[in-house]
């Protein structure tokens, strides 16, 4: 049991991290809250007085609000789906004995090291460009009409780009989890004549549930705030304007700080709802 002395020492050691994060959270958030009740237009002289909840009302009633929420959910959900499904499949494959496993693993994790701006630029120009992109060449080779990916299938394209970046992360976590699976149990099941599919659903998948939870949690944290990929590719056109991007446009393009701040507060609330939901699951898992 820890002594009283150890306890106070522990509190002291925790203090810097806690205080810094508290400050990092509270100071800007308070300012955002303050701005959100103001008519604040830097291009028209800045602070133009209090307006109560007008900004909040305006933000949600604007025609772009619900589409933005929808786009956010589709992108986050889509990327989670893609990374988890393909992550499990690739992890299963890499778990088998293969030649050059180390090299294959290096190839698979490589996208994780690529900065988002670079990957968005490369995908947008060198692959998805409808005239000079590699996909266009490929489509033409098979006699098909090249697709203008970013305008004809914008959400799909964004999910593809972001999914590519996060696939290594999901794969690695899932692979680690699979490797810890008791192989005797699997072999026993195989002996009993359980078909591969039911082995997967009754033994492997339950074993992976914790790892999948971790993947979902951590990716959601990062995906809710994706910015660079949209900024570089469509700049919010074609229904790819996420909540994050909508706020960015309000603050930086329209220079309407009050309105954008109200949006920011909504985003904080949304993120916290998601967080609460996820924390419940993970909190349980942390005890396990």
């Amino acid at each position: 049991m820890a002594t009283q002395h150890a306890r106070s020492a522990a509190r002291l050691m925790m203090a810097p991290a806690v205080i810094l994060l508290l400050g990092w959270m509270l100071v800007p958030l308070t300012m955002t809250l303050y701005f959100s009740f103001k008519r604040y237009l830097p291009l028209r002289g800045g602070d133009l007085g209090w307006v109560g909840f007008e900004n909040y009302a305006r933000f949600v009633t604007s025609s772009s609000f619900w589409p933005a929420v929808q786009a956010t959910l589709i992108i986050v959900g889509g990327v989670l789906l893609v990374t988890v499904v393909f992550g499990v499949l690739i992890a299963l494959l890499l778990d088998q004995p293969i030649w050059g496993q180390g090299v294959v693993r290096i190839l698979v994790i490589a996208p994780f090291f690529v900065m988002p701006t670079v990957s968005a630029l490369v995908w947008k120009n060198m692959f998805m460009d409808p005239v000079n992109g590699l996909f266009a060449h490929l489509w033409k080779f098979f006699g098909a009409e090249p697709v203008s990916w970013l305008s004809e299938a914008p959400l799909f394209s964004i999910v593809l780009i972001v999914g590519w970046q996060w696939l290594p992360f999901a794969t690695l976590i899932l692979l680690t989890a699979i490797q810890s699976l008791d192989s005797e149990q699997l072999e026993a099941a195989e002996m009993d004549g359980a078909p591969a599919l039911s082995r997967f659903f009754y033994i492997i998948l339950p074993h992976l549930s914790r790892a999948i939870t971790v993947v979902v949690l951590i990716q959601t944290i990062f995906l809710l705030s994706i910015f660079a990929e949209i900024f570089v590719t469509t700049q919010g056109s074609f229904g790819t304007r996420t909540l994050t991007y909508l706020i960015y446009q309000r603050v930086l393009e329209s220079q309407n700080v009050g309105l954008g701040s109200a949006g920011g507060i909504y985003a904080v609330i949304l993120a916290n709802i998601v967080a609460l939901f996820l924390m419940r699951i993970v909190g349980k898992n942390l005890d396990a």
Partner: protein, 435 residues
């Protein structure tokens, strides 16, 4: 380490940095267009003349640049000493007292030589606040060889109907030749600049005298569906994501029959190093609808200004003097030839017999002179600006509306839908701004 110590350390570091620097550093925010990249390449000429000034370049893509620079000046961030801004920002910012007036340039600078249209657009209350680095209007650039093959001839001042006919004749999708390339990428300085000039040339306007949005007018409907039809029938694939630079690349590769865009593009499409069609480009005035007195010419200048928060005002002005001087033009001419000189800023350039030999010089000047920002539309309007509306809300409005039109070009909605959405959001924004 606590936050406070970190801050102390930061300020201490900043202090030593200030002492250590014997030179004045001028931080220049600029756009990654060809002429600016060239200027960056010629930095040595400036630093050899002014060894006490060091230049730091921040070169950004147009949309990023605009946001960064606006953010910086509105919040008085003081990150830059020289800003590359346009005709839209200059008068608004000058009015807010955010820019340093450029009235005390050197004796041989000859501010009177700046083209009157540019001077007017970059001034506030008769005072120059930004010096034009280059100026532009818009015009038709077309492939003479394709026109000839189609047995057609481009009039010097075509109508939209003639443009449509030419586009139809030149389109050969089998061989990836598209009759016309136009801007479709969303942004107030991208597709909205072009669409607004089309609207003007169909007799439409953004606002009436009472600041009520007019996008529900029949003129707008006609203009927008004409633009949409052109791109749908004769445009390249993915037109909805093409901006100036994307279209430039397409034209240089010989994939566009016509391209209506900035006059500065002329020097890029006729440069044999970059362009595969350099020998066969012709120029014509921007079109209008038959019978409408306004043509689809815009007027724009990329200009250099000093923010009021700069701590190196004098050095910044020295730099601007260099970059927008007659000598700079001569320097570029010497290094790259007259065709590559930044155009549209000075009268003397168009009087220079060397420059008059350049194929597009005359048409550029004609186009610039045909544009008048103070009288942009057929109907009366309460605003200044041809391809923009010179109010602070325009950047937000233009970009949001631009996204609706971009979605229209992508085939996601009809021109009617795009216009009614744009009308609604413009009305919203104008109400929010208190008009």
């Amino acid at each position: 380490m606590s936050f406070k110590t970190a801050l102390c350390a930061a300020s201490a570091l900043a202090l030593t940095a200030g002492v250590a620097a014997a030179q004045t550093t001028v931080t220049i925010a600029t756009v990654n267009n060809g002429d600016m990249i060239r200027m960056q390449g010629l930095t040595d000429d400036f630093t050899s003349k002014h060894p006490d000034i060091e230049l730091e370049w921040v070169t950004l893509e147009e949309n990023i640049l605009r946001q960064r620079v606006t953010q910086d000046i509105a919040a008085n961030g003081g990150q830059f000493d020289v800003l590359t801004i346009g005709m839209y920002e200059t008068p608004i910012w000058a009015k807010n007292g955010w820019l340093v007036p450029l009235d005390d340039m050197g004796d041989d600078y000859d501010a009177e030589d700046i083209l009157p249209a540019m001077r007017a657009g970059l001034s506030h209350d008769g005072q120059l606040y930004a010096a034009p680095f280059y100026g532009e209007s818009s015009m038709v650039m077309y492939r003479t060889d394709l026109m000839e093959a189609a047995g057609m001839e481009m009039p010097e001042a075509p109508t939209w109907e003639e443009i449509r006919a030419a586009a139809e004749a030149m389109t050969d999708k089998e061989n990836e030749v598209y009759g016309i390339c136009l801007r479709g990428k969303a942004g107030w300085g991208e597709n909205m600049a072009f669409i607004t000039t089309v609207a003007n040339s169909f007799g439409a306007r953004w606002f009436n005298e009472n600041w009520e949005a007019q996008l529900d007018s029949p003129e707008w409907a006609e203009a927008v569906s004409f633009y949409n039809d052109l791109l749908e029938n004769y445009g390249p694939p993915g037109a909805s994501t093409n901006g100036f630079n994307e279209n430039l690349a397409l034209f240089q590769q010989g994939k566009c029959g016509m391209w209506i865009d900035a006059t500065v593009a002329a020097s890029f499409v006729t440069n044999p190093n970059d362009s595969t069609v350099a020998d066969s480009v012709g120029f014509a005035l921007a079109p209008n609808k038959d019978g409408v007195e306004k043509r689809a010419n815009w007027l724009w200048a990329w200009a250099l200004a000093v923010p009021a928060g700069s701590d190196a005002t004098d050095a910044a002005k020295t730099f601007i003097e260099w970059a927008t001087s007659k000598e700079y033009l001569a320097l570029v001419a010497e290094n790259e030839g007259w065709a590559n000189v930044p155009p549209g800023s000075r009268t003397s350039l168009y009087e220079n017999p060397e420059y008059q030999k350049v194929a597009f010089a005359d048409m550029t000047l004609q186009s610039i002179n045909a544009a008048d920002p103070s009288d942009p539309t057929v109907g009366d309007v309460p605003y200044v600006g041809i391809q923009y509306v010179a109010i602070p809300e325009w950047a937000g409005i233009g970009t949001a509306a631009g996204q609706e039109f971009s979605a229209m070009v992508a085939g996601q909605q009809s021109p009617e839908e795009a216009l009614s959405k744009a009308q609604a959001l413009v009305t919203d924004e104008m109400e929010a701004a208190g008009y």
